[in-house]
């Protein structure tokens, strides 16, 4: 089926997530969709699959204008989406998952009919799935296969896949690609959303690149990787001069640390972090950097290896032990994980105050809060509830809540959602900490921020970690390529799992 998107606009508050996107995909094509986090890929695909409504613009299927109101509506029009996290029901059996989401015909389940259809489809696409296995015992790749079969049985003619190769084995990936090629040959349209350049180049008949909500370019094979990276990340970035820290004593040492979650496994990472240095963690969201940062705080337990803070071995200890050793972690979700909505600024300062007796000293709290508000330039009053502050001021408050002195500060997206002025201010506060000897590890999806503020950079890709790279010697193309999985050979790291 031919899919056409015309002049799609979508706003989220002040953010123009999709800005006048026009894209035409002929039937029987595998269309790649590239872009960094927040470029608008997911928004566009959610509009096409009925999860979101566009503010304006139109969608044409086989030259017929359609209005898609809901995911069920999208399925009726023949559009199905395979989400990054499979939308299935782990406690149920494969066959029951297969049956769910079908148009109900009568009250009773047509299990036998479904079973036949399931086995026919599975055979057709060469998937070996036991219809009576429980979904919770399947691998991510098998759950994906189940999802594909389910969507095919619903009669979809357009299949959208969002980062489908994260967390599946190499063999499963080859099978997935073969299936997608076959679906395209049968005249179906496949939209493949990914940030992995190599896969896109291998699989897709054509590629569209989104950046900051706009469609910035399209490309047909043969692909020019350099050009794709440039389209994805845009600007040239100037790096500032750096100091060298190798001489000082490490504040954090990771020795052969191995981490695992459902999607990825990160093996035997070694790293020494020195007092006063800043290390940026780059990578597409979900490439393992969040897991890594939380492991440095004791919020995620490594499955092997050791974590040393200063002289202390804190492997397997809880976050509060790390905190006592001078480590602090600032989450990206400020109101969900960082601050306590409903409490005021001064109550927050009391909460972390080191001279806690039995009774609250309101006068002391007032003075403390006023001091910190002035020091960190927070737009708020001591009795303001934290949820009434703007994002930038919440972030300043979080920084004001950090203890003094601190040996290691771990930050997730320290300036996400902040305007330029706030970001610069936040970084001036952070760099002041560095001068006092605090080492900083931070995650950011903004390459400019990574290159501008880091001394060294770690790149994450599908659970692989690059060796520490000197930020001053790194170009934006090189970094962009690494994030997209290109150029890893030189580290001697095996690229595929």
């Amino acid at each position: 089926m031919k899919v056409e998107l015309r002049h799609i606009h979508k706003h989220f508050g002040p953010v123009h997530a999709n800005n006048d996107i026009t894209l035409s995909i002929p039937a029987g094509t595998i269309q790649g969709l590239l872009g960094e986090n927040g470029a608008g890929k997911s928004t566009l695909m959610k509009i096409l699959s009925g999860f979101l409504r566009a503010d304006s613009g139109e969608i044409l299927l086989d030259d017929r204008r359609v209005i898609i109101r809901s995911p069920a509506d999208a399925i009726r029009h023949g559009i199905g989406m395979l989400h990054q996290d499979p939308l299935d029901f782990p406690p149920l059996r494969v066959i029951d998952n297969f049956l769910l989401g079908q148009q109900a015909k009568g009250i009773f389940l047509q299990r036998n009919q479904a079973l036949e259809a399931f086995q026919r489809l599975a055979q057709q696409y060469d998937f070996s799935l036991d219809p009576f296995a429980y979904v919770e015992n399947l691998t991510v790749g098998e759950r994906q296969q189940l999802e594909i079969l389910r969507l095919l049985w619903s009669g979809v003619r357009v299949l959208i896949l969002d980062e489908p190769t994260t967390g599946i084995s190499a063999a499963q990936k080859q099978k997935l690609f073969a299936t997608l090629r076959r679906l395209a040959e049968e005249g179906r349209t496949v939209i493949f959303v990914s940030h992995k350049l190599e896969e896109v180049e291998e699989l897709c008949h054509r590629v569209a690149v989104l950046r900051a909500g706009r469609l910035v370019g399209e490309m047909h094979p043969p692909y020019d990787t350099r050009k794709l990276v440039e389209m994805m990340f845009g600007r040239e970035i100037q790096a500032a001069p750096r100091a060298s820290f190798a001489a000082s004593i490490p504040v954090l040492r990771l020795q052969q640390m191995t981490l695992e979650d459902v999607r990825l496994r990160m093996t035997a990472v070694d790293l020494d972090v020195h007092a006063g240095e800043t290390i940026g963690l780059a990578g597409m969201e979900g490439s393992g950097q969040d897991l890594f940062l939380r492991a440095c705080a004791g919020l995620v337990r490594p499955v092997a290896g050791r974590v040393l803070v200063g002289e202390q071995d804190l492997t397997g200890k809880a976050y509060h032990a790390y905190k006592r050793a001078g480590v602090e972690f600032l989450p990206a979700a400020r109101l969900e994980e960082g601050l306590v909505p409903g409490l005021t600024l001064s109550e927050h300062f009391l909460l972390v105050s080191e001279r806690q007796g039995f009774f609250l000293q309101r006068a002391y709290a007032q003075r403390l809060a006023e001091e910190q508000i002035a020091l960190y330039n927070i737009k708020g009053r001591p009795h303001s509830p934290v949820e009434s502050l703007s994002g930038g001021n919440q972030q300043r408050a979080l920084l004001a809540l950090l203890r003094q002195p601190l040996s290691l500060l771990l930050l997730e997206h320290p300036t996400r959602g902040l305007d330029v002025e706030s970001s610069i201010y936040i970084w001036s506060l952070l760099k002041e900490r560095c001068r006092q000897g605090t080492a900083i590890l931070f995650i950011s999806s903004d390459l400019e921020e990574i290159l501008q503020y880091s001394d060294r950079v770690l790149v994450f890709f599908s659970g692989k970690v690059s060796p520490p790279l000197e930020a001053s010697a790194l170009s934006v193309e090189e970094l962009g390529g690494l994030i997209g999985g290109k150029g890893w050979e030189k580290f001697g790291v095996q690229r595929e799992s």
Partner: protein
């Protein structure tokens, strides 16, 4: 809060009370009773005489203790529905201690003190069980508490009809009453004991102080409002939840203990008299404002006492008070939801 918001909030509270009254009137009309007369009887039943007024205070004490305790767990974000069982265990522990001490040479005052402490301990342990199930076993405190309530009831019945049965045959009227020396002294001619009333008021004041003016109270608030952030900010979260359970259980246990030493002077099957569930209603109604616990609990106690008159005078069931209390809470919560919607947009 802005001035209009306070006005709106107050207006909706009054509307909730009005709606609850209206609903009760409808119930009364449907059952063929004259509403005004019913309300008059309730007021008379609660405040018709000095004696009746002090009777209201008698049931105010456990309600005050239980509601104050529940505010601690509510503040920590916990639904301590197991409070019924904690009251019961307080009563059982007090009975156990008094049975041990009644034949000893201890002065009665000391025996009573020890028995009261035993009651608080009993309630606290029962609450810690629910807390441990939640913290270490991953059992939601509502389910754990509910289960423990049933166990507590079964334990009471087993004791009354088993090991602690009256000489001869066990009966629903409870265990053998204790000698009068082991009763908490009451005001002459009345059922009210200042030895229960004063600790009740003290507990309420202490909970108020604890929640509004101490670091412990602030940390509990942080745990209740955002567990994750509280942990990241350095608050030992599970320890605070356990402490909240412990304190609430101790206050529930104290309520149960007074039911034995000041009211029934023995263990009876329904020793908790539903004060736990009623206390949950009070705690929900006051919405974290400790100062309001005393008046609201008093109002509920008055409704309970007042409606005792209804079957005698109007041939109505006394459970009408429960209807009024329940409907009132429902309307207040409903209009709270309405207010939140209005504020959102």
């Amino acid at each position: 809060m802005k001035r209009e918001q306070i006005g709106l909030s107050l207006g909706l509270r009054l509307l909730a009370i009005l709606l609850a009254l209206l609903f009760t009137v409808m119930v009364l009309l449907l059952s063929g009773a004259p509403p005004l007369e019913a309300f008059r009887q309730i007021v008379l039943g609660a405040f018709g005489s000095y004696k009746r007024f002090t009777d209201v205070l008698v049931s105010w004490v456990p309600l005050l203790l239980v509601s104050s305790g529940l505010l601690i767990t509510f503040t920590a974000g916990l639904w301590n529905i197991g409070i019924e069982g904690q009251i019961t265990l307080g009563a059982i522990a007090t009975t156990w201690a008094l049975r041990l001490l009644q034949d000893s040479t201890f002065p009665p005052a000391l025996s009573l003190l020890l028995a009261t402490l035993a009651g608080m301990l009993g309630g606290a342990i029962w609450a810690l069980l629910a807390g441990a199930l939640k913290t270490f076993g991953g059992v939601n405190e509502i389910f754990g508490g509910l289960g423990l309530n049933f166990v507590a009831t079964a334990l009471t019945l087993w004791l009354i009809f088993g090991p602690w049965k009256r000489p001869g045959i066990g009966s629903m009227s409870g265990t053998e009453p204790f000698p009068q020396a082991l009763w908490l002294p009451v005001l002459p001619g009345l059922r009210l004991s200042l030895w229960a009333l004063v600790p009740g008021l003290l507990a309420w004041g202490m909970v108020f102080l604890l929640l509004s003016n101490t670091y412990f109270g602030l940390r509990l608030k942080a745990v209740g409002k955002n567990l994750r952030a509280a942990y990241l900010l350095g608050v030992p979260t599970w320890q605070h939840m356990m402490l909240a359970f412990l304190l609430c259980g101790a206050l529930g246990g104290l309520a149960g203990s007074f039911q034995v030493t000041a009211v029934y002077h023995r263990l009876i099957p329904a020793i908790s008299s539903g004060y736990g569930y009623l206390g949950l209603l009070v705690a929900m109604l006051v919405n974290f404002q400790t100062l309001w616990v005393a008046p609201v609990a008093f109002f509920f106690a008055a409704l309970n006492l007042g409606s005792i008159q209804l079957p005698i005078v109007l041939k109505l069931d006394s459970s009408l008070s429960g209807v009024i209390q329940g409907v009132l809470v429902l309307f207040v919560l409903l209009l709270d939801g309405v207010r939140r919607r209005m504020e959102r947009g």
